[in-house]
């Protein structure tokens, strides 16, 4: 498999054309702030006023390198950066014509071409951007580290278009590997055929349907026996929110209290999606479901969601985290910790899981909604490590977007009135304040 590389992403809707990135680039390369020395340029569209990026994309098959007659340009196979060597350059400028992104340009002051070298892996432009319009992406590390691992679910399982659960289980099992017993209680993950239908199975590891009610108990029993005979087999649950927070809560709570060794992943799509979108205890306030319908009297769910991951932290699990598929590096880092923690106790990861079918949004919006959930503080990302009693946020919760930017994307919130939105905004704030108490306690303890 080819290697994958880090890159700089540009989100034009977040850019206001302040030129901080341009100055930072010039400064780090020449010590001056003149835009003439910047390898990056932000170009304003004269018609619609939007911003565009002129920057080397460090292409996989770079035209500049191909067109250079002097061999002054080459791609570094380790970093992916396209390097320019001044001593070999004949100053023909053919490269500037070859590039479609204005990624290599002529500097009239130095009278040489210049291009981005990613600042050696710590790009100044992304660091200086206060609005998050430029982001240095390192998620290619995941591809390099785990891309060669076998996908332990077969292709063609019957998930809905744009299913977050399918994305999640493929990544998760690829990371955790085949020495695993997988439990998929009744719900979407079982419903897509992971355990199988009429004698065929979709999973390459041992997999089974527990009851909706006893996932953690069955895994606990199996793991105890493997411990007894000296085999280190990972126990992994993909529970839905119903099987976790509602009817399966007792067995999960018991297993957590006893410190049973497993990784329990709750894929929280905020209701019984597989059975026709009914309410669960993690359905958020105001949400439409088929059992909290919207009519002339009722306007969606009237209670707030059960704070499941906090409850698990209160069980003193070895490891507890929240996660979102829009933040895959964060998720993988948490999986690493969960794998380690499950050797001596319970690791619980609560994954925010938008559902195109049940929440009523177009499948292509999945990751954007997952991201907006985090950026509006509707879904704070945090982790708790029992060993050392550490609690911290893994994504900044300061300066969140207004919650409406999240709610307005989702059909199940279409009916909300101003009071309901206000309630959700307040609850988000309250949740963050509560979590910050854990975080501050941790800071005080550390100091």
């Amino acid at each position: 498999m080819d290697k994958s590389y880090h890159t700089i992403a540009f989100y034009p809707q977040k850019c206001n054309g302040c030129n901080d990135c341009i100055e930072a680039c010039a400064r780090i390369n020449t010590g001056e702030v003149s835009p003439a020395h910047s390898r990056i340029a932000i170009v304003k569209d004269s018609e619609d006023g939007s911003f565009g990026l002129a920057l080397c994309r460090q292409c996989g098959e770079p035209r500049c390198v191909m067109d250079c007659p002097a061999g002054a340009l080459s791609k570094n196979e380790d970093t992916g950066v396209i390097q320019w060597e001044e001593t070999k350059c004949v100053n023909c400028q053919l490269c500037t014509l070859a590039c479609s992104y204005a990624g290599i340009t002529y500097n009239p002051v130095t009278r040489k071409v210049m291009k981005c070298d990613m600042c050696g892996g710590d790009p100044a432009c992304a660091k200086v951007c206060g609005r998050g319009a430029l982001e240095y992406l390192t998620s290619s590390d995941l591809y390099d580290k785990w891309g060669d691992m076998e996908d332990l679910f077969v292709p063609g399982i019957s998930a809905c278009l744009g299913c977050n659960s399918e994305l999640l289980i493929r990544h998760t099992l690829r990371r955790i590997g085949p020495e695993t017993v997988v439990a998929t209680p009744p719900g979407c993950v079982a419903g897509v055929g992971s355990v199988g239908v009429n004698g065929f199975t979709a999973t390459k590891t041992p997999v089974f349907h527990p009851l909706l009610t006893n996932t953690a108990s069955m895994l606990a029993g199996a793991r105890r026996y493997y411990n007894r005979i000296g085999r280190d087999i990972t126990m992994l649950a993909f529970g839905g929110d119903g099987g976790t927070a509602d009817v399966g809560f007792q067995s999960l709570s018991g297993a957590a209290e006893r410190g049973e060794q497993m990784i329990y992943i709750c894929i929280d799509n905020e209701g019984y999606m597989n059975t026709g979108v009914q309410r669960s205890s993690t359905t958020p306030y105001g949400a439409w479901t088929s059992t909290t319908p919207v009519g002339s009297v009722l306007r969606g769910k009237t209670q707030d969601a059960k704070p499941m991951p906090v409850l698990m932290m209160m069980h003193n699990c070895a490891y507890v985290a929240t996660a979102s598929t829009a933040f895959m590096e964060d998720y993988y880092a948490k999986l690493d910790k969960a794998v380690a923690a499950a050797k001596h106790g319970m690791a619980y990861i609560h994954v925010f899981s938008p559902c195109p079918t049940g929440w009523r949004f177009p499948p292509a919006m999945l990751i954007e909604i997952a991201r907006k959930g985090v950026e509006t503080n509707t879904v704070p990302l945090w982790e708790y490590i029992n060993d050392g009693n550490e609690f911290h946020f893994t994504h900044s919760v300061d300066n969140p977007l207004p919650v409406q930017e999240f709610l307005s994307l989702i059909g199940k919130y279409r009916h909300l009135d101003a009071d309901q939105i206000d309630h959700i905004q307040k609850m988000n704030k309250r949740r963050i304040e509560m979590l910050k108490m854990f975080s501050e306690q941790e800071e005080r303890r550390a100091s």
């Binding site: 355990v195 006893n214 069955m218 029993g221």
Partner: protein, 398 residues
């Protein structure tokens, strides 16, 4: 070396577990099973049982952890009764078609409501159609011996079914008798290799999808489901043979003989008989002896194995008499009679000639069925031979 002690039925059951050497025992207390859970826990603490003890948060999880362990390869044990069994029902009725050879004591207890914590067989009888093997014991010795035999039956390759060993709450759970604990070497030789998950497993060394969705309108799904159902039924029918073989082998190797399915007591020359199940049988036998001394030609049929139903053995027994009185310690609400009575009626259909049969219901909620009660039961049954057939059921202790 075998050893003789004096103990109650719950302790006798725990000693059976000691000798069967399970890998995992799971416990949750409920009256009148609690002291059995305590004996098991103490025996683990003392190293007499080298098993993983899982004291979990409820009966639902008790059976669930055992299912997980069994699928990984463990030999397992637990005990429950009454409301505990009711709460356990969801995993319970899934265990037989998963073909998991889990052994569980049912220290039988009556059902609520009205609120009640005492013995009765309503719990075990209520789950009689689920697919667990059910054996009912008469003495504390039989409890101990049957628990060991249960493993050999449940784990037999032709059976592979979970097994309940039932003894009566109160009268047997707390009643004290002399019990001989067999020699560990003899038991090991008797039980042989454990056999728990050759057919279905959660093991990365032989990955499989356990319990995939099966059935549906497609012909292939329907036929596959039927195959599973027939397989479980066949395992149950095989168990009739295996239970008999295992009891015979136990008698041969250990020296204690029990009727495996149905015991016939003073039946060969009897005109009529009473049918008993569980701990009431002792009083029943005494009453039969007294009636015999008075010249009555009465015998007794004791049900040891109720599931699978021992049709041929029962048919053979009831074919020897001209009337039967069946004593139940539970109620079939749907039939206004006792469950054992209903099953004996089904058996009688296989006879050419019709004979009278009377349903007696007694011993509910901890009540005693005394020798006097049994004498009345015998007398009432005898009168049916003179065409005095009472309206049933007849409620004892009313």
């Amino acid at each position: 070396m075998s050893k003789t002690i004096v103990c109650d039925g719950n302790e006798a059951a725990a000693w059976g577990v000691v000798k069967a050497r399970p890998d995992m025992v799971a416990v949750y207390p409920i009256t009148p099973q609690s002291s059995l859970a305590e004996y098991i826990s103490q025996f683990v603490a003392d190293g007499l049982i080298e098993a993983d003890l899982m004291d979990v948060e409820g009966e639902h999880s008790v059976l669930s952890v055992l299912q997980g362990a069994c699928l990984a390869g463990a030999r397992t044990f637990t005990a429950t009764c009454g409301q505990g069994l009711a709460f356990m029902f969801e995993p319970y009725f899934r265990t037989p078609p998963l073909r998991l050879p889990i052994v569980m004591s049912l220290v039988t207890r009556d059902g609520i409501s009205p609120q009640c914590v005492w013995g009765g067989q309503q719990d075990a009888m209520t789950v009689r159609e689920v697919g667990w093997i059910q054996m009912y014991c008469e003495t504390n010795q039989e409890i101990l011996d049957t628990i060991i035999m249960a493993y050999k039956i449940a784990e037999h390759r032709d059976v592979m079914l979970p097994t309940n060993v039932c003894h009566d709450g109160n009268y047997q759970s707390y009643g004290v008798e002399q019990v001989e604990i067999p020699d560990q070497g003899d038991v090991d030789a008797f039980l042989g290799e454990k056999n728990t998950n050759w057919h279905v497993a959660l093991d990365p060394d032989r990955p499989m999808g356990v319990d995939p969705l099966t059935g549906g309108a497609a012909a292939s799904g329907a036929s596959l489901f039927v195959r599973y159902r027939k397989g479980t039924c066949k395992g149950m029918q095989n168990a009739l043979r295996v239970i008999a073989e295992v009891h015979e082998e136990w008698g041969r190797k250990i020296g204690r003989h029990y009727s495996p399915l149905v015991e016939e007591y003073r039946l060969d020359d009897a005109d009529y008989a009473i049918v008993t199940i569980g701990g009431m049988t002792g009083a029943g036998k005494d009453a039969v002896d007294m009636a015999r001394e008075a010249g009555e030609k009465v015998g007794l049929i004791k049900v040891k194995t109720f599931r699978p139903y021992p049709l041929q053995a029962m048919l053979q027994a009831v074919s020897k008499v001209k009337a039967v009185g069946i004593v139940d310690r539970s109620v079939s609400f749907g039939w206004n009679a006792g469950p054992v009575y209903q099953e004996v009626l089904s058996t009688l259909y296989h006879r050419k000639e019709r004979i009278p049969a009377v349903s007696f219901i007694g011993g509910l909620a901890g009540a005693d069925i005394t020798e006097d009660h049994f004498s009345q039961i015998i007398e009432t049954t005898a009168r049916t031979l003179r065409d005095e057939i009472p309206e049933g059921p007849i409620w004892i202790n009313e």
